[in-house]
Symmetry: C2
Subunit: 281 residues, 2 copies
């Protein structure tokens, strides 16, 4: 017997679609409903069997759901969460899948008397590609999902949302929304800015001489500029702080090079290697 009666997914892009696929492939839900603005996206999600049913009306789509996952662009998440909470049964929980958490969680709590049926989530999985046609049922398997309770989130809400992600094969880490944003500024938002700056700094006539190093280093720059502008806008102070740390490192490397201080340059590269090696491949 499926764990969930009805799960509603608001936004059936890469992440929403992958959650739907995973729920269906694992037989976890009796019904997976996808909600989106455009019928064309919903049709693509239906075609790749990421959802059982589709609706362009949020209120209608979430009605009777046991769990709602909001996987829309971050600037829209708080609105969709509040709208869903107003339309669902009393025992229904709501979470999201946005790359930022501070602004979203604060907005939801400031707008609702009782935001206790919401807790934020951020699955650390994805791709520079978008759309349900790139969704994969195993996208979350073995990946980390950060769940971000606030001081007013009930333990039961946290436990149920945690279990939801675990049911999809993910590992859950809990962090306060602001801590999440500071960490992700360094591990995700800054790499994105940097990849974009590096691509833009490459004279195009030399692209034919780019090999795997350039390709790896700039890969995330291919992601959607609108989605990323929203992410950077929502995490401005932490991203600026991370940019400051990067500038310091770049200035140090530049000074080593200018002053031909090769032993220090080697040590700096060794330090970068040590931290990179700590992650594994």
């Amino acid at each position: 017997m499926p764990t969930y009666r009805k799960v509603a997914i608001v936004g059936v892009g890469l992440i929403g679609g992958s959650i739907g696929l995973a729920l269906r492939q694992r037989g976890l839900a009796q019904q997976v409903v996808g909600i989106g603005r455009r019928q064309s996206s919903l049709d693509r999600a239906l075609a790749c069997q990421a959802i059982d049913e589709a609706s362009t009306e949020l209120d209608e789509g979430v009605a009777g759901a046991e769990l709602v996952v909001v996987a829309t662009p971050v600037a829209a998440v708080a609105d969709h969460v509040c709208q869903a909470l107003a339309a669902v049964p009393e025992d229904c929980l709501v979470t999201d899948a946005g790359s930022t958490k501070g602004a979203i969680c604060a907005a939801v709590e400031s707008r609702l008397q009782d935001a206790g049926r919401f807790v934020g989530s951020h699955p650390l999985a994805g791709d520079h590609r978008t759309g349900p046609e790139h969704a994969r049922g195993d996208l979350l398997e073995g990946k980390t999902v950060v769940v971000t309770p606030t001081q007013s989130t009930p333990a039961e809400t946290i436990a149920k949302v945690e279990l939801f992600w675990q049911n999809l094969g993910a590992r859950v880490t809990k962090l306060a929304p602001v801590e999440h944003d500071e960490a992700l500024a360094a591990t995700s938002h800054l790499p994105h800015l940097m990849a974009s700056a590096l691509a833009a700094a490459t004279p195009e006539e030399w692209l034919a001489l780019a090999a795997t190093g350039w390709a790896d280093t700039t890969r995330v720059a291919a992601a959607d500029p609108e989605l990323w502008t929203q992410v950077l806008a929502q995490n401005k102070p932490a991203v600026l702080a991370a940019l400051g740390r990067l500038s310091e490192q770049l200035e140090k490397l530049e000074a080593n090079l200018l002053e031909e201080n090769w032993s220090e340059l080697r040590e700096s590269l060794q330090n970068g290697k040590r931290i990179r090696d700590a992650l594994g491949s």
Copy 2:
């Protein structure tokens, strides 16, 4: 019948080993001799069948060769090229596989009366891993090798070295040594510095929250710090120029973020995406 009688490879690391493997797997040479300082590296290269014979003496190893490829760290290349040219038969050509070309080609031409039997090469293939145990016979297949003749390089030398790389499955592009270095500063040396700076700018307690974006963007930072210090040292002016272009881009992004100029930030990210997309995956 094999195309080459004897090919000598000075330095049997990842690149030298892969050249040896390709020559042997394609039946291109009667004999592939590997030359190295350490018997242990030579033994590993013999064990993975990258070479037929090994020698720790350059003069002895290159004797009777028809072609010598110097694949040692860039700071040693010019010495090894000159030493090889003094020890080989008159009809033997010498090339190299170093990531920088200006300093190497200038050093060889300044030291030898007749440097016409040498032309520089740079195979745009590699890995952040080193050593013959990571060598692959198909490493150069479909990859670009930049061959860098100077005004005094005879056409015959260029043609023969070009054919050598084509025989291994690579495409050849010809560029003057200085042009090569300017382009590679942007497409390879700067990405390396940047990956290292990004890794170093990441507070280690947040590494657990790094996903594929961070992993891709920092991958090349795992490469050998000593080899890269030599590369950066040999290409100082072009790398500083490339760093300057990157800093401009980063400053622009930082200003967009500070001033909350979201439409310009989106345009900058769109520009980075356009250049990244031009490369393909």
